[in-house]
Amino acid sequence: MTLVAEAFVSQMAAAEPWPESATLYQPLKEDQILLSDCASSLAVQAYLRMCGLPVQVVCRANAEYMSPSGKIPFIHVGNQVVSELGPIVQFTKAKGNSLSDGLDDIQRAEMKAYMELVNNMLLTAELYIQWCDDATAAEISRPRYSSPYSWPLSNILAYQKQWEVRRKMNAVGWGGKTLEQVYEDVNQCCQALSQRLGTQPYFFNKQPTELDALVFGHLFTILTTRLTSTELAERIKSYSNLLSFCRRIEQTYFEDKSS
């Protein structure tokens, strides 16, 4: 979002309380949504639940095109539309809901750094595995991505997206990596997260923050999504404190609805 737009949104946001009719848009859950988008969407949902802000999840086939920045997910609150976790955190902060107020400067620096670690390594690895690994792209990503559309549009959109992601991978220097190297990077990232979490319930001791939401979103999605190989999930399962972390957040924030 541009600076001017952001300032405007913050001002408008501060004026109104959180409405009951807030909605979160994402692609179709059963057929269309891909690993990386599902992870981002789950992260935002977890964050909003942690803040205690109610939101309805609505699935639309063209969610990606509706989003102001082209990224999933986005929320529609009142008459504003905000996409991606970073701007959404700022938006809720403007409305007076923040999870990271209790942190001091050094902790906030660490929190931001670890969030960038997840974005830089986990998210990029997810995109790589989905689109740059030929087996996964052909079996899972392309069919799912283009499932709402009929031929020939489905083919065109799928290949266009694949080409776009591959160019991005080249730009960030991941183009020359092999799948093994990517798995190794994921392993390193999980090791760093596991080290940081240690034996605490959340990353910054007693209270969850947006970092917890982001990590939960990605790890839970990887653990519960079927891919061509289970290598990625296996790497995460080797860190028991991350597994119990995911289970804890799921039980605290996502199972109260059914009970």
Partner: protein
């Protein structure tokens, strides 16, 4: 012991061992870890084995170009600057390096390659001055297009153009990143204790060019200078690990020392004398060959016994004299 690996990297300027961020990261890490590398500084990327700089050519004739790959290779060879780090510090390293890549790098690409004044006055001029003929005509432009493309892909915006708004957004993220780094560094000498690690190498590589180059549009530079602990961190690293390069560039620092008589580093062209002599020779050669070809001056073979025929020479000589 096996022969040391060869590192091909960009030349240095402004008191730095190299002008490129990636090269600086690799050089700094090699110094911190005590890795012996055969340095080949050059300003012609086509002469490097992979076409890109920096490139590490290992003993197995493999070419590595990404700084992270080069660092992993050096670690495997037991040159590890992160030995003293605890597990949590290692994790923090990884996190802060990611922060640098996501928040600071786009702003650096913008400052040096996309912002019009900086690109024309500093970046393009430096590369055009230092690259050999005929690369200096098209390679800087090609590099600029590559960097702009990279920035577009990093931001996910295909229609990115340089402008006030983009500059504000990028600089806002970058200043936040710099503030966070400054908070993390505090008053320590290095990020983790008294010995430098890979995070120090990455931070040095990203910040040193911004601090040391003279940019016409230097908002990021100004903000960085206000963060004293980061500025003294960079100066410290230069002093301790790159003393030779630091001394050369010492006179180019701002404030008290007067600018060198050539009028600042903009006019510092390498091999100036050699280029002057070559230009003079080329001009002389051109004039002589023109004179010979048009017949103003002619060289005739003199036979040893017979005297030469006086008329043609005299006639031509008169014609030559008349013209002159």
């Amino acid at each position: 012991m096996a022969a040391p690996d060869e590192l091909f990297c960009w030349e240095g300027d402004w008191g730095l061992p190299s002008v490129s961020t990636d090269c600086l990261v690799v050089l700094a890490y090699a110094q911190f870890a005590g890795a012996p590398l055969k340095l080949k500084k050059m300003s012609n990327p086509w002469r490097s084995p992979s076409g890109l700089l920096p490139t590490l050519r290992t003993n197995q004739k493999e070419n590595l170009t990404r700084p992270s790959d080069i660092i992993i290779h050096l670690r495997k060879q037991k040159y590890n600057a992160d030995l003293d780090l605890s597990a949590k510090e290692g994790a923090d390293s990884l996190a802060f390096i990611s922060l640098l890549e996501e928040k600071l790098k786009p702003a650096l690409i913008y400052t040096f390659w996309v912002e019009p004044k900086n690109y024309v006055d500093v970046t393009r001029r430096w590369y055009a001055d230092h690259m050999p003929f005929p690369l200096n005509f098209f390679l800087p432009g090609q590099m600029q297009r590559g960097q702009l493309e990279r920035l577009r892909l990093l931001r996910g915006d295909e229609s990115l153009e340089s402008g006030e708004e983009l500059e504000k957004e990028l600089y806002r993220d970058a200043t936040e990143c710099l503030n966070l780094l400054s908070q993390r560094l505090g008053s320590h000498k290095f990020f983790f204790g008294d010995t430098p690690s890979s995070l120090d190498a990455f931070v040095f590589g990203h910040l040193a060019p911004v601090l040391r180059s003279k940019l016409p549009n230097g908002k990021l530079q100004q903000h960085l200078k206000t963060l004293e602990n980061l500025s003294s961190f960079c100066s410290n690293v230069l002093l301790l690990y790159f003393p030779r390069d630091g001394r050369e560039g010492g006179g180019l620092k701002a404030s008290s020392p007067p600018p060198p008589p050539e009028g600042g580093d903009f006019d510092h062209v390498p091999n100036k004398r050699r280029k002057q002599v070559l230009s003079a020779l080329a001009a002389l050669g051109a004039m002589l060959s023109y004179a010979l070809l048009t017949g103003m001056v002619s060289i005739q073979q003199e036979a040893l016994e017979e005297p030469p025929d006086p008329e043609p020479i005299g006639g031509e000589g008169e014609a030559g004299e008349e013209i002159h």
